[in-house]
Symmetry: C2
Subunit: 119 residues, 2 copies
């Protein structure tokens, strides 16, 4: 496997809420995604989900908490917790989660993305 | 859980080759480590291991390849592959791997670190 340059991968796509799988570790995937605007409320009943902000700022709205993440900050949304990611301006994020996770959890709809696997 | 600021966590410790667990996702751990000099040759027979360079540059020597990773670059060492991480100047790295992984794999010795869990 080749090394992955995160910034270089981010130059290769545009569009929002459509994660690209850039690396795999065992049965987990590292994805890059550009986000802007509001996503849908959803949860992942079987897994935690990691957000690492690579560039910009984003928020994660949850029932009892609203987290703001800036560049160089990360957060683990625990499994089962309803959350709604959002970003006022475009934000670049690394996601880490098991293979097969659907971006919108149980709430499939027009924002549900196919994971584009680049590895 | 609180959000994690990676740079702020890195200000909280010194010393080399001694990873701090800063986040957990399912049965996986995100660790920060400062490295300088040469580590020992080792492998992890049961798991891949992810290196993400947060600051500086490091190398990973393997049998048939020698990878240099700069800030913002990542690499997945496949399970079972013998490798020796090194850094000429101090380098800050995020590691991602399952709970319970020993830093030196099967080659326990004076560089074997206890994982200091901060979550």
């Amino acid at each position: 496997m080749a090394k992955i340059n995160i910034d270089e991968k981010l130059t290769k796509f545009s569009g929002h809420w459509s994660p690209r799988v850039v690396a795999e570790m065992n049965d987990y995937q590292f994805k890059l995604v550009k986000i802007q605007g509001e996503f849908v409320w959803h949860n992942h009943v079987d897994t935690d989900e990691v957000f690492i902000v690579v560039k910009g700022s984003m928020g994660i709205e949850m029932k009892h908490e609203n987290i703001t993440l800036n560049e160089g900050e990360m957060y683990v949304v625990p499994k089962g917790v309803m959350h709604k990611p959002y970003a006022i301006e475009e934000c670049h994020v690394m996601l880490v989660e098991p293979q097969g996770v659907v971006s919108t959890g149980e709430e499939e709809g027009e924002l549900t993305a196919e994971n584009d696997v680049w590895v």
